[in-house]
Amino acid sequence: MAVRRNGRSVSDDAVRRAQAGDPDAFEAVYRAHTGRVYALCLRMSGDPVLARELLQDVFVRAWQKLGSYRGDAAFATWLHRLTVNVVLMRWREDGRPGAADPGERALDNVHAPSAPPGLRLDLEAAIAALPPGCRHVLVLHDVEGFAHKEIAMLLGIRNGTSKAHLFRARRLLREALDR
């Protein structure tokens, strides 16, 4: 079965060969998924420099953990979950930083072909400027489509806290975009 991401396709065969230790096959996997993973890292961290590091960490981790991928779910789903875990782990290791304002840098490397440029850039910057807790919940819920229950488990918070973060994030976003 072929998986199409970012205009490229990667087959299950490439994943299987990568599991067997083939770096070339893993490169194919990387190139098929790098855009999606980087987007998530960038939005979750709000910092393009950190997002680059996270991107590498995700794929190193994926390489190490490929053996545990059993094909129960789509590889993209497995990798997506791994990405969220790596980002959150880094966030915790760093003492939960991110209150700093990385919003301007977040704009530097955003290249998207489809959305209205003005709105998208404003929105990306506003997301990057959110407090980390709110930003994580907003990205996971409104952009990535996670349910509050899943987010609560991932972040180690209560369901209600996740909803509160989302409410606050949306309010902050509206205020930022209205300015």
Partner: protein, 363 residues
């Protein structure tokens, strides 16, 4: 267009690109990291891997610590109880003396079910009951081992005298006699069986019960009960009444108060005897009158009630009408207020304890 409400904002967020190309090609750097940090990917596990969470929330830690503490506590309790049960199961041991023992006495002096310890007129023995107590076998005694399980330690005294000291939970240790069963409630006592099979139970510490034909006597410390073969269980009488002489009684010039009780238990239910039992009763005879209450006929029960109420006023909740109607709850409430008595162990407590002992013995 600037989003002005949640719906617009949601649409705008959903419209964000799902992919964003990273600046530059990171693959060469990534490849070198892969080859440096993890040359070979982990092998596919045969079973699903278990991963510790990478971060424990304080609440999770508190819950885990609580569960661990409860687990350790229960394990300790079970181990302690099981050790006790194990000792109960370790049978009987003759500690000193050379009794004329029959049947199943092993070389190591352990006594198994069915064993008989019989002492001559000059012999005595001590039988250890696991860790829960000891039985002194006096001269001229025949004692049989009936059962030794986690929840039932049982002997049979055919004749002679034993002194038992038991620290087990209530109703764990019992001695059968030809005229009834003495059950330990956490006490020490002397039990004598004469050649006719009549039993005399004298409680020297705590309290015990003696039951026969479905009737049970509660015997507190300092009381004695004599039960004849083929008779109802006797009426407990205070040790002080053993030597307390009463006024001359028809047919018997010198009688003690305990003798009056013995006459009643032997079948003399005459009005004159009952009258004498009531009029000569003193405060420490309240236990005797309490036991007498259900034994007398309905016509005399009111007289017994009035005398007992005069010696030991009933507590709140106990009424004359209720007692005369045979309320066991009221009688129990009154019992716990009688001088020198101890609270009766609720049945549910006994059952829970027995269940726990059984469970612990299976561990």
């Amino acid at each position: 267009m600037i989003p002005s409400d949640d719906l617009d904002l949601k649409r705008a967020l959903e419209a964000l690109p799902r992919t964003v190309e990273p600046p530059g090609d990171l693959w060469p750097e990534l490849r070198s990291r892969i080859t440096r940090e993890a040359a070979v990917p982990e092998r596919r596990p045969r079973f699903r891997e278990f991963h510790w969470p990478e971060h424990f929330e304080p609440r999770t830690i508190r819950i885990a610590a609580g569960i661990a503490a409860i687990g350790i506590g229960l394990t300790y309790l079970a181990a302690a109880t099981r050790a006790n049960a194990h000792w109960m199961l370790s049978q009987w041991e003759v500690q000193r003396g050379v009794p004329w023992a029959r049947a199943n006495v092993a070389q190591d002096s352990l006594l198994h079910a069915g064993a008989v310890v019989q002492t001559s007129g000059r012999e005595a023995a001590v039988v250890a009951i696991g860790h829960i107590g000891r039985v002194d076998v006096r001269p001229g005694t025949r004692l049989r081992m009936i059962r030794a399980t986690a929840t039932d330690q049982r002997l049979a005294l055919d004749v002679g005298q034993i002194g038992a000291t038991v620290t087990a939970p209530p109703r764990l240790f019992a001695v059968e006699t030809p005229s009834g069963v003495a059950t330990d409630m956490g006490c020490s006592y002397t039990l004598t069986v004469d050649s006719t099979g009549a039993s005399t139970l004298l409680v020297t510490g705590g309290w015990a019960t003696f039951d026969e034909r479905g009737r049970e006597a509660l015997i507190p410390q300092g009381f004695r009960v004599v039960t004849l073969v083929n008779h109802d269980v006797g009426t407990p009488v205070s040790e002080r009444s053993l030597s307390r002489r009463v006024a001359p009684f028809p047919g018997s010039a010198k009688l003690m108060y305990a003798d009056l009780v013995a006459l009643y238990d032997a079948g003399d239910h005459s009005d004159s005897l009952v009258t004498r039992l009531l009029t000569d009763a003193q405060r420490f005879d309240a236990v005797t009158l309490w036991h007498l209450m259900p034994k007398v006929d309905a016509a005399r029960r009111a007289r017994v009630y009035d005398r007992l109420a005069a010696l030991a006023p009933p507590p709140p909740g106990v009424t004359r009408a209720g007692v005369l109607a045979g309320s066991t709850i009221m009688m129990r409430l009154w019992w716990e207020k009688l001088p020198g008595t101890l609270p009766i162990t609720p049945d549910v407590t006994k059952r829970l304890w027995m269940l726990w002992l059984k469970a612990a013995s299976w561990l």
